[in-house]
Amino acid sequence: MLSAPLQKTSFRLLSGATALAASLSLVACGGEKKSEGGAFDGEVKVGILHSRSGTMAISENTVAEAELMAIDEINKAGGVLVDGKHLKIVPVEEDGASDWPTFAEKSKKLIDQDKVAVVFGGWTSASRKAMLPVYEAKDHFLYYPIQYEGQECSKNIFYSGATPNQQAEPAVQWLLKNKGKDFFLVGSDYVYPRTANTIMKEQLKAEGGKVVGEDYLPLGNTEVAPIIAKIKQALPKGGVIVNTLNGDSNVAFFKQMKAAGITPANGYSIMSFSIAEEEIAAIGPEYLEGTYAAWNFFQSLDTPASKKFTADFKAKYGEKRVTSDPAEAAYAMVYLWAKGAEKANSVDDNKVRDALVGVSFDAPEGKVTVEPNHHISKLVLIGEVQKDGMFKILENKGIVKPIAWNQFVPETKGYSCDWTQKRPDAGKFKM
């Protein structure tokens, strides 16, 4: 296989290539491979499975880049030290093509064909849900870096993004305390916004807020006028809007909200869960200034680790690039896996699984630790978008432990997940 940077360049070089040319170039580049990596005692293959084409490529490219950057850093520092051997991490990249079944297919390929030790991948919950049965059936491992809706606790997935109690719930609490009680929920029409909104509705019921409206937009749809009309009907004098839109729809949403006068200046507090620095740059800070977001990492986080991460990322991928929470979570995830492997003294996935719980890493956001429910404890931040597209941190709630099964939703209330317990229902049991 190609080494990562080479393969990366060849994507660009050969854009427009025919399959024939592609195979030729593979032969050509293949020759150079052997000249590097002499200092290692062996290799360990890992899968990188994100959408490099299609709608989601916009977001997932950055995540894949952050993962590749972590792999590079680990390799530069001598690779993974297992059993006294320095193993070089060799990423095998696959394209999920923004298509959930393709994610499942490529997972099978990485596991069966490439025999990777672990797969880092996914963005949308739908893609994770599509991959999950593959990893469970083959008892293999997926590391998933994106904040998500929770209500899941698989033995075969490590989740390095936020659960609702590390993002949505503190955000709602903060909004209730500082911004108002009337909430309008807007989201893309798929599992994450639907589930996240279900949770928030229960939370608002419990904590004295009120849901005045709820609407969903098909993924990729840009005609938001009906939603804006509903918001105006429901919140004529301002209020809280929680936005779980994903992808392209956000651009339309914010452009048209601004035009319709639903702005912070007019008494509307808008909180988004899928708008990070990267998205702000694409939408234009003018439209977003004064809105809020809850994340576990902001580029503006003022710590040495954060600054170093951003500086390294820019050095590697260009001055104009920005870092964001998903990139940070993906970056930390690779390190956590490497530390887990070193602790287990093996790259065997089941051994790493057992070793990984309790492993800590000084991530850009701070010290994160893998918890027994396969999620990680994370820093919770609430920020406000500034003119320059960066966030001003309004509140830092410190490190919060993850809760997989939501405690506001009646169906899952009282349930827990702990994979260190040797019980058959460790994934979901009554506390």
Binding site: L14, P101, A126
Partner: protein, 346 residues
């Protein structure tokens, strides 16, 4: 060339040889992952056969075969979701949306027999109804294509948005369901499914051949060549078109069901607009009106896609776009048409 009859025979039979080898030799040689891919691509050959029937023979370019493909997949997916449950239990995802009892239209899918029929009858009925409403009004040509595409988008929106009914975007997973005590995702069941696919591809091919070789097939070709003329001869072309569209729908449903169990998931992505247009290009590349070309095209292009996207995902769209241009400009009869072309001096 006529002085070499064996050469002519070779030209005639090579494509068949390729398929037989693919079906008989590759299962022994290929590792499980690639074999699984081959099984899936062969099952796509069935939907391609349906497209060849309606487009290659009858001249109806449907850009909405994904609807029927997905319906077949969903029928089987629903059954598998229910099959591995204890009585009274609900598929897990319903819990996420607070659904307490099984929606009514799920009930019959507990029955394997009902599911067996639903896989092909439901898509056939939907296709038949849609076809009847459209053909009855003499809507044809690009209008028909665009309408089928719009119908596709509508079905996509509907399935994508109905979390509480059908698990929305996530689709239904099949790998962890059990058939005869084995996991659907296990190598054993997958291998069995491969052989089932081979058998069904042959059966579907045979059905299409039977439909096209006689006078019924002549009517289809006549509809493509000059439909009004045929009507003036006394044929109710609407019924022919509706019937053949329904047959293609049924084939798509079977194809979708086989594809679903071999991919481990059925999702609204099966109804994505580009996927249904891709199906058309499999047929065009293989060779319109050759039947076997449709299967060959489906397998070849999907393998190419799989290989290219492993190495250079960014180039696939260029290649695919180029293929569309190639088959309409330089290779109108597809690979087989080109391969079987008579060597005559122009």
């Amino acid at each position: 060339m006529n002085s070499f009859p064996w050469l002519k025979a070779w030209r005639r039979w090579l494509p068949w040889l390729v398929l037989v080898v693919a079906a008989l030799v590759l299962p022994i040689v290929l590792p499980p992952f690639r074999l699984n891919l081959l099984g899936r691509f062969l099952s796509l050959g069935i939907v391609a056969l349906g497209i060849d029937l309606i487009w290659g023979y009858t001249g109806l370019l449907s850009l909405g075969q994904g609807i029927f493909f997905a319906l077949g997949g969903y029928a089987l997916g629903m059954h598998l979701q229910l099959g591995s449950l204890a009585p009274g239990q609900l598929p897990e995802f319903f819990g996420l949306y607070g659904v307490k009892s099984l929606p009514g239209f799920w009930q019959p899918f507990t029955s394997p027999l009902f599911t067996f029929f639903a896989i092909w009858i439901v898509p056939a009925l939907v296709a038949g109804l849609l076809g009847y409403l459209v053909f009855r009004n003499r809507i044809k040509g690009v209008y028909f294509s665009i309408l089928t595409q719009a119908a596709l988008l509508v079905f996509f929106n509907f399935f994508n948005g109905q979390q509480k009914l059908i698990n929305g975007t996530n689709g239904l997973k099949t790998d962890t369901a059990k058939v005869f005590g084995d996991l659907v995702g296990s190598d054993l069941v997958q291998k069995e499914l491969f052989w089932l696919t081979v058998v069904l591809v042959v059966a579907a091919w045979w059905l299409c051949r039977w439909l096209t070789k006689g006078r019924f097939g002549d009517v289809l070709v006549a509809i493509r060549d000059d439909e009004p003329r045929l009507r003036f001869t006394g044929y109710n072309t609407t019924s022919y078109k509706t019937l053949v569209f329904a047959v293609a729908g049924a084939l798509a449903g079977i194809s979708g069901a086989l594809y679903t169990v071999q991919s481990g998931i059925v999702s609204p992505q099966f109804m994505a607009v580009p996927f249904s247009i891709e199906m058309v290009i499999w047929v065009a590349v293989g060779g319109r009106g050759t039947l076997i070309g449709a299967v060959l095209g489906a397998v070849l292009i999907n393998f190419a896609k799989s290989l290219v996207s492993e190495q250079l995902p960014e180039t696939w769209l260029f290649i695919q776009g180029g293929l569309f241009l190639l088959v309409v400009t330089a290779l109108p009869d597809g690979l087989l048409g080109w391969w079987w072309r008579r060597e005559v001096k122009p």
